[in-house]
Assembly symmetry: none
Homo-oligomer: 187 residues x 4
């Protein structure tokens, strides 16, 4: 039931945009009474938040796989792989992501993908520790914080608003270069 409602939410979002997302419409799309919707979700915010969480978890699953694969690759290749997986994950959730970025009052829900950022940051800390062991931890954290912004922003741009005339793969490569250089310039 919860799943049915969340899927309907995503569908309404895709079809009508954030402005067209009403609880009554979601309930109708889910083939569920509005009363039932409120049995499973305290309010509209929670509905949105859980949809975001669900997308986030889905992306996270992909990311975990990518991270596992990446550890056995050369540094730059690993970064490239992770970025590529992220870009495709964002594209898969285009509807939710677009609607939320473009229109949702996200102030209430924080970042769109905080879990993803957290997991990614953790992994990156490991990566930095391995490849630049001499770096001051605070300095490393600062770099990682910035890098997270760069990573997520770049993935969103590449997935949802790519510049014309350049392949997606080239954009990912450029971003990977940027990140590796930014994180461990001496590599």
């Amino acid at each position: 039931m919860i799943d049915r409602i969340l899927s309907a939410t995503a569908q309404v979002l895709a079809e009508k945009g954030y402005a067209g997302l009403s609880t009554n419409r979601v309930a109708a799309a889910a083939g569920v009474s509005i009363g039932s919707l409120y049995r499973y979700f305290a309010d509209k915010n929670e509905l949105i938040e859980q949809l975001r969480a669900r997308s986030s978890a889905d992306v996270l699953a992909d990311l975990t796989g990518a991270l596992t694969a990446a550890v056995t690759m050369p540094a730059r290749d690993g970064v490239h792989h992770i970025l590529s997986v992220l870009v495709h994950a964002v594209q898969r959730h285009r509807a939710v992501t677009t609607a939320m970025i473009a229109e949702a009052p996200l102030g209430a829900h924080g970042n769109i993908l905080p879990e993803v950022e957290r997991q990614l940051a953790q992994m990156t800390r490991l990566f930095v520790a391995v490849h630049a062991p001499g770096l001051d931890p605070l300095e490393a954290d600062a770099r990682i914080h910035l890098a997270m912004g760069v990573t997520l922003n770049a993935c969103l741009r590449i997935a949802l608003d790519p510049p014309p005339g350049v392949t997606e793969d080239r954009l990912i490569s450029l971003t990977a270069d940027l990140l590796v250089l930014g994180l461990v310039p001496d590599l």
Copy 2:
């Protein structure tokens, strides 16, 4: 009066968020009748757009100054200077920026300051042409597109959500390094 209303808009935005921004609320906050608001602004959209334009113009003025100053500096110092000015401009317009950018922090199109990005991109194109004349134009444009995302995103993070334990100046320095490396790696 126009000023009073726009300021009230920024204030309501800061206090209630984008979703809580209503014309009646703005009028009340401005100590003005709702009728007066509609004498000066055709509709709610225009109100928002003018607030954005006003912030944009303000930031743009700073940016133009910074760009002028930057041309006479060594490349990295110039970038650092520009970033610094941008960070402070964002801080000055925290309310607008938070409501309109930071609520969609990874914003692919979430640039409420397209004029700023445009001007910055133009300047960056010049910079790249000077420092990396051999670069393929399409490739250069792709890099610039990414760099714009990085720049604006980093400025927002530094201004509105800085990581603890590191000075703002250090963060700006790191970003400057990242950008210069990313744009003209052979420098």
Copy 3:
């Protein structure tokens, strides 16, 4: 509920006139929330249209009965009967009629009861065909068009703004004479 709202609409119309007819006022008069009103009527127009349709159907029912009865009567008596029924139907729907017809008493298009006029016109065409078979069809249609105006206008005058000193029945008789003479002068 629908009935309650439509009755309230008629009541507000009677008390405040067409210009004073607001959806909120209707809802209040019906002892119903404004939200409920909009559950049953898509918008204000539909509310008005359904009230009109309902009155129209009611009048039409009377009219149909009267027409059936009239065919077995001598011509003048039949016309008299029909007029009488119409006058009473108008009186019964005084509120709606007053608001929508009588406020534009000379109404060229002011027929809020087009179905009634249509049905009446059809019957009249038959009547003319029977009693004045030699008449040119276009000429007949013109007479009928005028006669419809005369009929409805007279009924309204008799029902809502009768001249003093004469019985209603006498007025109806005069109108019947006028109509029969006007339609088939040679009768």
Copy 4:
């Protein structure tokens, strides 16, 4: 000034319809401040009422001429002449008449052309007294009341919503026959 405002009112009525008639718009169209408008007209109602009165006076002037001419004609010709003049007068004021019939809350202002009806009724009383001296006065008044409705309604229909396939002159002739027959059947 008063004239300028009334003309502007008629113009706005013609261009925007009754629903688009606002005092501010009228003032703007008249090239006069809204404050001045309210110096000359107590409120919007008065503005409308005076416009109606002005049109009425204009029609009345024509009517008076027609009546004068009609007294020297044979009865039916006189009636035909009067109707013809009325039809053209209504056509000349098409904008005002249409707007007011179709949309104005005339409940507040009564008939559109009460002065015209009054004058016409007076003249008709004379006509009946001459041509049917034996008629009971109350009965005569009833006939006249009905005839006024017929006359004005027919003129409006002929002027604003004529049936197709028949000339205006024929319609006027039919109406004249109807009226003469209805008023003094023994003629």
